[in-house]
Symmetry: D2
């Protein structure tokens, strides 16, 4: 009798975008982040993010309010900077280069607003050929790069949608096709 | 009315030790790893490990057989090398220096056998003042360093025990006292 | 008698751009990289780069033909992938996240062509407030982002110039003003 | 006509040991570090180290007093913490996991005293099969591990010698034999 164990790993969806701090973030953007997190949880995927504030925190809260599981991958060596809605915190100690780890650890990326840190995560997703989709009208990098390629190689388009639910479904469908 | 949100993060216990591959590992050592994983799950803590084979795989299997949650932090950029008992895989892409991330991401470390990679993780735990305990008679680094300090600063002793259950309880108790 | 030692560190200028491999690179772009390296050496600055082929290799060659000193910071754990014009090779073992180390280790960045890897390095330079300048008509990311900011914070403009000599002088002048 | 370019890379020797700070370091140990740096420079090798104080600073000073070239690989994102005797500073931003980069970037390691950080660097050298030698009577990790293997695989012995000159010559000879 032959037997092949199925890998137990669940789908991991990365949510990337504005951190709290330097710039004020529109409440609409944070609401969109919350919704993205909610749908990730309802679809039984694991939410992966950079573990800090702003879009990261709101998406984690959305996931936890829907009984999801959340992992925050923080730059620091300890978890004290992580938002309170992370079930698990990965303390990298590698500073902002943890952006690579967030992208590599995601089976797909959903961007909500965002500055250069978010752009770095999209670039890593592009290199690693991850499905990526940005939420329209969420501001910043997401609005600039939705519907575009990141360089002339045209390797992976960053899709765009107004609907957090569609964004989650896009990542899930692309993972089924693999 | 004042309100303080409790951090949702669960206790994360790191299991470190032999990878499969170069050296044959005694079945007793793998059994001990399985038991360590079992007790981590029964105590509702999250099991963190380096995500690969040997002690990492057996401890993850022990946790999954007891309805636990397991996170593998692998050196690679993708999850294909992770053992099949990881619920979530953190793909660091930073090679073996992911040993730092395993130790930083653990609220305490339990060592079962192990070579220099395990020694590196104990060193990082020592620097970061994590509670550490080795399983006696599990071989390698665990037998050499159980009951000792790693340098002349005598910062944190690596405790030792023959009992996987006691090891898990030691880490949990030390985290309650923090 | 009071005494303050001057720091011996020399100015380190990062050259970033296309790696050899996937895409063919125009000979004009490689000539521009060679010239950038030549001027860095003539000005007695250290050339820092990602250590591999294409723009990295040609800029290192330009520096060595002018008695300069070159450091290649490679993704790998050993130096076998480094181009032959590196005086010193930093073997990071952290994969492509070494882009952060290239940017952090540079007192200014000059971009010549380039894809998403180059864009990541510019993003890190932007976060760390490094002077940055791109060579016009060198292709790719350099042509797209020369004269622009990388996000809505407008923190540091990526300057642009057609002249490799002016690019080097710009970085040197900006470091004198610090 | 056939032509093979010789790689220009010079031999890079890593000096590892106590940082300044927590523990007082014996002046004899610092003198030994200075001498190690002096001989590295006289043999025209590049000195690689962690870039900070204590053994790192004294070895760099020894090298610079003998017209050598020194590279400090620091944990921080900027060079302000580096000792003043570094010609070039690699700013990793990856925290203490830069120990991996120090070891990977060295064609051999010489240890002078040292705590757990030094032990981590020796472990990485052991994994990467680097020639390693410790200076006897320099204290700490160097005295404990000189003449020993780091785990049961007996992969690479850490040699020991009282003479800084012999230590440098050992690393050079082992690199010629490769």
């Amino acid at each position: 009798m032959s037997f092949t164990l199925t890998r137990l790993k669940r789908v991991q969806i990365g949510v990337i975008g504005y951190n709290s701090g330097s710039l004020p973030i529109k409440s609409k953007t944070l609401d969109l982040a919350y919704e993205v997190g909610s749908f990730i949880a309802r679809k039984n995927a694991i939410l992966v993010c950079g573990g800090l504030g702003g879009v990261m925190e709101y998406s984690c809260k959305g996931a936890k309010d829907n009984n999801g599981f959340t992992i925050g991958i923080v730059p620091q060596e300890d978890y004290s900077s992580a938002n309170k809605y992370c079930d698990a915190v990965i303390c990298t100690g590698v500073g902002l280069s943890r952006d690579f780890i967030v992208a590599y650890s995601s089976d797909g990326l959903i961007s909500v607003g965002g500055g250069v840190g978010t752009l770095i995560e999209l670039c890593v997703g592009y290199i690693a050929k991850k499905p990526m989709i940005s939420i329209s009208d969420s501001g910043g990098i997401s609005d600039i790069y939705g519907g575009k390629y990141l360089d002339e190689r045209n390797r992976m388009m960053i899709e765009k949608t107004e609907s957090p639910m569609e964004a989650v479904e896009y990542i899930l469908k692309r993972n089924e096709l693999r």
